[in-house]
């Protein structure tokens, strides 16, 4: 466990910032979270808030701003990792008298909550960064698309926008310059696909949130058919600091091809669940063992899942992989928006793939057939395998479907939907084979493939299990071995928990 007393000096550590949980972290995007009062603009200003915007609009040209962003090496934190400066440059060069700056706060990956934390803990940083982006590309209007399931974030954004307008830090002629910029909120209605950029813009326009083909790219023809940039909350949270401290400062943090830091929402089978911000290039081992405090209950680390339903898993053998955009792609996963789900030996990888597929099946918008039909077909095959009816040809079918969907789906949701299946097939094919050929679930998760059995030698015949069994399927004589009727057993595991003699096994 990492948060502990300093043993050498035997002094009780009372300041959270002096615990091991914080030691390896570098906080840029989260620097004000947990420190300032998010509903008070003065506290943000005291932390150099709006200084970057002030400098940008009074002393820099749009070209210079974009140059700083390019040199900093900042890449999109929403998952795909496109260089932010280049995105802004495309939009700046697009000719139009109306352009838009959008913020993607439709955080939808299961297990990811870092954007919510920034919006709730430091909403002004997003407003300031969007205004800087507006100045850089020549826009006077911003939209924050935030999911309605984040009511506290919405409320704090509303307060922040109101305060910034009162102070003249948003609105007409900001700080006495010719630059005007306004921001409005748009609430998402809970569709995962609306985190996809074209669907998000369609939704802001008031239509049903469905993606549209690219090109034209948003930088050319985006929101209301005008040049638009869309960046993620965490990307924006880096921008004011880059302006204040310089591109070089930022480029010196992190790894060669991935600059700066990344925030991860660490969850699953790990002691310190929470939010961590680490320099790019930190290894997965450091995150899990040193910051995360390791796996609870003495279990073994099996794999970590990054990138949610678009990503893949990183097996224990690759735990020393540095976390960077490109290294994660090389091993078949992806950075994603920052969900990091840790799994121990009790996780069935086929079941995990099925869980993410069930999510994409549910969230597919249905516009394009490869995603609408393909993900459902893949899900059906996984259902078949986990229920013990799988055949070897099913695995070939999974590969064929995965490649067809990846190549033909309309948007990122569909194109990446097969990833959880492909990456578990890559590293845990033996588990698929065990399900299909041996009809066994090695992790003991898939109910149809496991049996609870009483070991006759160990059973004392106390009847404790039989009395607890909810379906009365355990019978026997007192002081003689009891037996489970497999045809009635619902595999709830109550008997195993009840037995004091370890006489019941799951196999």
């Amino acid at each position: 466990m990492q948060i502990e007393n300093n043993k050498e000096q035997n002094v009780l550590v009372v300041d959270a910032r002096k615990t091991d949980f914080f030691k390896k972290q570098v906080r840029i995007a989260l620097r004000n979270c947990g420190k300032i009062n998010p509903e008070n603009i003065d506290e943000y200003i005291a932390e150099d808030g709006y200084e970057a915007l002030g400098r940008v609009i009074t002393t820099m040209t749009p070209e210079e701003v974009i140059d700083v962003m390019l040199k900093s090496g900042l890449r999109g934190r929403g998952g795909a990792g496109f260089p932010t400066g280049r995105k802004w440059d495309f939009a700046r060069k697009s000719v139009s008298d109306k352009k838009y700056v959008c913020c993607n706060a439709d955080e939808g990956d299961p297990g990811a909550f870092m954007d919510r934390s920034v919006l709730e803990g430091d909403p002004h940083v997003v407003l300031e960064a969007m205004a800087i982006a507006g100045y850089a590309i020549g826009s006077d209007q911003g939209y924050i698309y935030v999911r309605a399931e984040y009511p506290i974030a919405v409320k704090r954004l509303e307060i922040a926008i109101k305060q910034a307008k009162e102070y003249g830090l948003l609105g007409k002629n900001i700080l006495g310059t010719n630059f005007s910029f306004d921001i409005e909120l748009r609430l998402g209605a809970g569709a995962f696909v609306c985190g996809e950029e074209t669907a998000l813009m369609t939704s802001i326009e008031g239509h049903r949130g469905e993606p549209r083909p690219r090109p034209p790219f948003p930088a050319v023809k985006g929101l209301f058919k005008q040049p638009t940039i869309l960046n993620n909350v965490e990307t924006y949270a880096n921008v004011p600091r880059i302006i204040l401290n310089g591109a070089e400062w930022f480029a010196n943090i992190g790894a060669e091809r991935s600059k700066g830091t990344k925030v991860f929402a660490v969850g699953g089978k790990i002691k310190n669940t929470g939010l961590v911000e680490i320099p790019m290039g930190t290894t997965l081992r450091e995150v899990i063992e040193e910051i995360g405090g390791g796996i609870p209950n003495g279990k073994k680390f099996k794999a970590a899942q990054t990138g949610g339903p678009s990503g893949g898993c990183i097996p224990a053998s690759l735990i020393d992989t540095p976390i960077e955009y490109d290294t994660l792609i090389e091993i078949g996963s992806m950075m994603g928006s920052g969900g990091l789900i840790v799994m121990d030996e009790d996780t069935c990888m086929v079941d995990l793939a099925k869980f993410f597929l069930s999510f994409t099946v549910e969230e597919s918008c249905g516009k394009c057939p490869p995603c609408r039909i393909g993900t459902k077909r893949m899900y059906d095959i996984l259902e078949k395998i986990t229920s013990g009816r799988g055949e070897l040809s099913d695995i070939d079918d999974l590969y064929a479907l995965a490649s067809a969907i990846k190549n033909s789906a309309l948007c990122g949701l569909g194109q990446t939907a097969p990833n959880p299946v492909l990456s578990t097939l890559r590293y845990f094919k033996d588990e698929y084979i065990a399900h299909v050929v041996d009809k066994k679930c090695p992790a003991g998760v898939c109910k149809n493939l496991l049996q609870y059995k009483i070991i006759a030698d160990k059973c004392r015949g106390c009847s404790a299990c039989a009395r607890k069994c909810p379906v009365n399927c355990i019978s026997g004589e007192i002081k003689k071995p009891f037996v489970i009727d497999q045809s009635k057993c619902i595999k709830c595991g109550t008997c195993m928990e009840t037995c004091k003699f370890g006489a019941i096994v799951k196999e």
Partner: protein, 122 residues
């Protein structure tokens, strides 16, 4: 505000106000009030502290809220920051524990060791 200079002047003013601690305020109590904190029960904790400070007539303490510091599993978290910037992090708080912190720490000046991060999360 009409200029960058005005913004900078405001920043200096806010900073010096925070240092001078107007009205004799020299201690800040900060309650984590992001979704994770509120879900874990930060609202009753906040209420207990505000009530405790008011009932005891403690004048040197300002109670405020903040976002999530990342230790979601240890919420509700309350931090007490003294005039020199020393921070005490209390974790897994509830209304009763908060009342005790008001009594012992804020009124009495003694850190309640058993609720601190080092004692709870070992």
């Amino acid at each position: 505000m009409k200029s960058l200079e005005e913004l900078r002047a405001l920043k200096s003013k806010i900073r010096s106000e925070m240092e001078l601690k107007e009205g004799g305020v020299d201690t800040r109590v900060v309650v984590g009030m992001a979704t994770c904190g509120i879900a874990a029960g930060a609202r009753p904790v906040m209420n207990a502290i505000v009530e405790g400070v008011a009932n005891r007539g403690i004048k040197n303490v300002q109670v405020t809220m903040t976002g999530c510091m990342g230790l979601c599993r240890l919420e509700p978290i309350v931090e007490v920051i003294d005039k020199d910037g020393n921070i005490v992090t209390y974790v897994e708080m509830n209304a009763e524990k908060a009342a005790k912190v008001v009594e012992e720490h804020l009124a009495g000046g003694r850190i309640v060791s058993e609720y601190t991060i080092g004692a709870v999360a070992q």
